[in-house]
Subunit: 237 residues, 2 copies
DNA sequence: ATGAACAACTTGTTATAACAGGTTGTTCAT
DNA sequence: ATGAACAACCTGTTATAACAAGTTGTTCAT
């Protein structure tokens, strides 16, 4: 061990995680015991246990006293309520995206749905509205609020049928670290009713989210209206 | 220390957790240092660190090298979307609970909202209905489905103003490891409309959850109807 | 006054040790 | 053959120890 500058427990974590993701260890396989890992990686038990505990925390394995560390089933998909954006949440469905308002730079609304830092207020806002359809039926009306902080060429990108989350990760190396969301059921009215093509007073799910990232002081926001008459939102946690 | 039969790190976890929830330690307060906790509770650092790491995992504190353990902001609103139950989600509000149907043992409904294992079907179901009121206003109508697996004296416990999650954690050492939830907006009708005291066609949020635990093969289920006219549901992830 | 250096904290990482307690397969007496 | 007892694993808990590394306030030389 001890080639990288990373802590040894993190090195072991990454090795085991990669083996699980790559299928070297598969569902319900039992990992080598803690003592075996100590020997094969020249580590002591606290270090090995730290790595295994992190794998438990991140959902890759479960541990059973007397038995060992067992590989978990990989989650089928990630719904909109945990982290993923709507595009990947609906993977496998016939999803199309219609841009209602192309990304434009404009000032923030005051008051905003979440508290904003001074930095965010000063830097301005990239605003975008999109409608997501499954088949011919509009299901999501998305409004995205992205602080205009050092995202070169962002407003000129196309977001037709693309995930904002994937774009941020692949083009800007930004990934999601957490966030906050508010949720309520409302009656369809005005633009929401019009875009989602529903009767007045249809119950609509309204989700407001702040999404935090690994980039220092960079969060973005979205407001999503969803017609749940024929399709549940789902999430794992 | 060492009065209960619980591990010492869990005893310390519960003490600190309670102090945070009760406001003895408030937002951005720095907890006593690890060495201080060692002295005051007659424990060693690995034990203290285990307790603190669990508090980090559960979102109560954050730790900063060189500074200390800092108390996190309590989520405002209703933290029902991540893990916490409704009772702890509403902490600080004037919450009362009315039992509509006391815990009774009965067979499962078929088909159930989530797939059930054979073990769960055989073991029977503890069923409970509760109404949660903030002030005079009923906000949640909860139906709980708990497999009748080795929970001594469970049906005789009182759940008035108590958190099912806390009871499971403290009395049975069961804690939540994850789960799955489905969500939709519906119109208030029938019993839901009646219990929540709303006009017909009021939009109501309907949440169905499977909640997984550290206890082998033990998950429980709940169906929650929530009036979000005056209060958002809230979650962190 | 200013700033560099340092001391005195903090948490982070890692090693060594011992025993408790759950699980599983084997052995042995019946 | 059957079942009880046991040995040999496994993870869980706890203690002791030492050093690394980030933060903060103080001291001291300029």
């Amino acid at each position: 061990m001890a080639k990288s500058n990373l802590p040894q427990y993190k090195q072991l974590y990454e090795i085991l995680r990669k083996h699980i993701v790559d299928g070297v260890f598969q569902e319900d396989d039992v990992l080598p015991s803690e003592n075996e890992l100590c020997i094969t990686h020249k580590l002591t038990r606290p270090t090995v246990r730290h790595a295994l505990d992190d794998l438990v925390k991140d959902g890759f394995i479960r541990k059973r006293k007397g038995k060992g560390s067992i590989v978990n089933k990989k989650p089928k998909g990630i719904g909109i309520l945990s982290i993923a954006g709507t595009t990947s949440a609906l993977e496998g469905l016939d999803l199309t995206t219609r841009i209602l308002v192309k990304p434009i730079i404009r000032p923030w609304e005051e008051p905003f749905i979440f508290p904003l830092s001074e930095l965010e207020k000063e830097s301005g806002l990239i605003y975008m509205e999109r409608l997501r359809l499954v088949g011919e039926e509009p299901l999501f009306y998305d409004i995205s609020y992205i602080p205009n902080l050092n995202l070169p060429r962002f407003t000129s990108r196309s977001f037709e049928n693309k995930s904002l989350f994937d774009t941020l990760r692949k083009s800007y190396n930004i990934h999601i670290t957490g966030g906050e969301q508010k949720l309520k059921a409302i009656k369809a009215e005005g633009k929401v009713r019009e875009y989602l093509c529903v009767e007045p007073n249809t119950p609509i799910l309204h989700l407001e989210r702040r999404i935090d990232t690994n980039k220092y002081l960079f969060s973005f926001y979205s407001s999503i209206y969803c017609n749940t008459q024929n399709l549940d939102l789902y999430g794992i946690f």
